[in-house]
C-alpha cells in the first residue's frame, strides 16, 4: 500500500512504514497478557496501518525460531515452538506467600540463631508447629545447628546460605536490629495491616491456608 510519493510526506495521519508496523505488532503481541485479534491489534496501531500484512511479516520472521506467532481461533499470540516445550517444564511454579507463623519463626531463627524450638516458642509466645519447622527445612532456609549443651540436648536451628541468597543478604548479621528497625520506620507503632492478633488471648489467629500452629495445651 505504501508507495514512493508517500515516503517523504510523513504527515501525522500517515501510516508508518511496514517495517515499523511490524515492530509495533511484535511489541504489542509480546506485552499483551492474552491473545489478540487482528481488530484489537489494529485499534492500537496508528491509523492506516495494515495489520494483516504486518502479521504475515511477523509470522514469517519467527518461522523456525524458538518462539512462533500462532493463531488461536481468530486471535494471535506468541508461543514457544512446540518442539521446545520440554524446556518449559520447570517454569511451572505456584507462588505462595509464606504463612505468618512461618515468617515469624524464620525471623526469630534469623535474628537469634542458633536457637532451639523452645526458645522460639518463648519469643513468639505460642507453640511452633512441626509443619512450620518442616516447611522451613524443606525450603532449605533453615538447618540444624549444634545441639545445645543443656539437659535434653535440644537441637538448634540456624539459617542457611540458601536463605541468605533468597533474601539477598551477605550474612544474617546484616539484618537491621530493633533500634534500626525503629529508626527506619520499619517497626511501626501500629500493628501492620493483615496481621491480626487476637487481643484477648495474645494468641495467633489461624492462617488462611489452615496451617495453624498447634495450640498445645501447654500454656493453659
Amino acid at each position: 500500500m505504501s508507495d514512493a510519493p508517500e515516503k517523504d510526506v510523513s504527515s501525522l495521519f500517515e501510516a508508518p512504514p511496514m517495517a515499523e508496523q511490524e515492530r509495533m505488532v511484535e511489541a504489542i503481541l509480546f506485552a499483551t497478557s492474552e491473545p489478540m485479534s487482528a481488530r484489537q491489534i489494529e485499534a492500537r496501531l496508528p491509523h492506516g496501518a495494515d495489520v494483516a500484512e504486518a502479521l504475515v511479516h511477523v509470522r514469517k520472521r519467527y518461522q523456525g525460531r524458538g518462539v512462533h506467532l500462532t493463531k488461536i481461533g481468530d486471535a494471535w499470540a506468541f508461543r514457544t515452538a512446540p518442539d521446545l516445550g520440554f524446556l518449559m517444564q520447570k517454569e511451572q511454579v505456584e507462588e505462595r506467600k509464606l504463612s505468618r507463623a512461618a515468617m515469624e519463626t524464620l525471623a526469630i531463627i534469623a535474628y537469634h540463631q542458633p536457637v532451639t524450638r523452645g526458645e522460639i516458642e518463648e519469643i513468639r509466645g505460642v507453640s511452633v508447629s512441626r509443619g512450620t519447622i518442616d516447611l522451613l527445612l524443606e525450603l532449605e532456609w533453615i538447618k540444624l545447628g549444634r545441639r545445645r549443651m543443656t539437659p535434653g540436648r535440644p537441637v538448634t536451628f540456624i539459617v542457611t546460605q540458601t536463605f541468605l541468597d533468597h533474601f539477598g543478604l551477605e550474612s544474617a548479621r546484616d539484618l537491621p536490629g530493633l533500634k534500626e528497625l525503629r529508626e527506619t520506620g520499619l517497626l511501626e507503632n501500629r500493628p501492620p495491616p493483615g496481621a491480626p492478633i487476637d487481643l484477648a488471648t495474645g494468641e495467633e489467629i489461624e492462617d488462611e491456608d489452615g496451617e495453624a500452629d498447634d495450640q498445645d495445651d501447654m500454656f493453659t
Partner: protein
C-alpha cells in the same frame, strides 16, 4: 558608600520578601538544607561561587521572620540558625590564632559542597525518574508460559516481610489493651505429668533444675513457676516412693533420682 547602603537595603527587602514566602510555604521544605538551597538560588550564581556569608544572613532573616510570625520552627531549623550565626562570626572576625578548630572558610566551603551535592542529587533523581521505565515505557512479557506438568510451590517472602515479622513479635505487647494477664504458670499437674515421664531415666543423681521443661528456662518468671511446680511434683513423687531426694546442705542444689527398683 551610600550606594552600598542602598544596595544592602534593597537586597534585604528582597530577602525579607523571600523569607516571608518561605515561611508561608514552610511545609513544602525538607529541612534547613533545603531552605538554604532555595535561598541560594536567589543569588543566581553558580553554587561554587555562592556567598555563604550572604546566605547565612538570608537564612537568619528567614528564621527571624518565622519568629515574628510566631511560627514554630522545628529544632533542626534552629540548630542550623545557631550554626550559621557561628559561621557568620567566624567569617567576619579576623581569625583568632588561639582558637582551635576549622576556619570559617573551611566551614563555608563544606556547606557549599553540601548544597552542591544536594542539588546534584536532586538533578540526577529527576533524570532517573525521567528515564524510560518498565511498565510505563517498555514492557515485560505479558503472557508468561507455563506448561502444566511439574508443579512446584514457590514460597515468596521478602526481606521486608522478615523484618516486619520480627518487628511485629517484638512490639506485640505494645498493642495489647490493658488487661490483667495471668503470668505464665507451669502447673503442678503439668510438672507431675512431665516428671513421671522423665523419672524412669534418672538413674544417676541429678539436679532438680535439669528437669525444668524446655521453654521455661530463660524467662526468670517462667523459670520460677516451673521450678516451684517441679519441686512440688518431686515431693509428691517421693511421697509415692518413686524418687529419692537429697541435699548436701541447706540451700545446696536439690538432687533427685529414681528410687532403685528393689528396696
Amino acid at each position: 558608600m551610600p550606594d552600598d547602603q542602598f544596595d544592602a537595603d534593597r537586597v534585604s527587602t528582597e530577602d525579607r520578601l523571600a523569607a516571608e514566602a518561605l515561611v508561608v510555604d514552610l511545609d513544602g521544605f525538607e529541612g534547613p538544607l533545603d531552605v538554604l538551597l532555595t535561598l541560594s538560588r536567589t543569588q543566581k550564581v553558580d553554587l561554587r561561587k555562592i556567598s555563604i556569608l550572604a546566605l547565612a544572613e538570608q537564612y537568619l532573616r528567614f528564621v527571624e521572620e518565622a519568629k515574628r510570625l510566631r511560627i514554630e520552627l522545628a529544632a533542626d531549623y534552629l540548630v542550623m540558625a545557631a550554626w550559621l550565626a557561628f559561621l557568620k562570626s567566624r567569617l567576619l572576625l579576623p581569625p583568632d590564632p588561639e582558637e582551635e578548630g576549622p576556619s570559617g572558610e573551611e566551614l563555608a566551603a563544606h556547606l557549599a559542597f553540601q548544597l552542591e551535592r544536594l542539588e546534584a542529587m536532586r538533578r540526577v533523581s529527576a533524570q532517573l525518574m525521567g528515564r524510560d521505565r518498565l511498565g510505563r515505557d517498555f514492557f515485560a512479557r505479558g503472557m508468561t508460559e507455563s506448561v502444566t506438568s511439574t508443579r512446584k510451590v514457590h514460597y515468596r517472602a521478602s526481606v521486608l516481610d522478615l523484618m516486619q515479622a520480627y518487628a511485629r513479635i517484638k512490639t506485640r505487647d505494645d498493642f495489647e489493651p490493658l488487661h490483667f494477664r495471668r503470668g505464665p504458670v507451669f502447673t503442678m499437674e503439668q510438672a507431675l505429668e512431665r516428671m513421671k515421664g522423665l523419672i524412669g531415666h534418672a538413674i544417676e543423681w541429678g539436679e532438680l533444675s535439669q528437669f525444668l521443661p524446655e521453654g521455661w528456662i530463660l524467662d526468670p518468671k517462667k523459670r520460677r513457676s516451673a521450678m516451684a511446680s517441679t519441686f512440688a511434683a518431686s515431693l509428691e513423687l517421693a511421697k509415692l516412693g518413686q524418687v529419692e531426694l537429697r541435699q548436701d546442705e541447706a540451700f545446696a542444689p536439690l538432687q533427685l533420682r529414681a528410687r532403685q527398683a528393689r528396696s
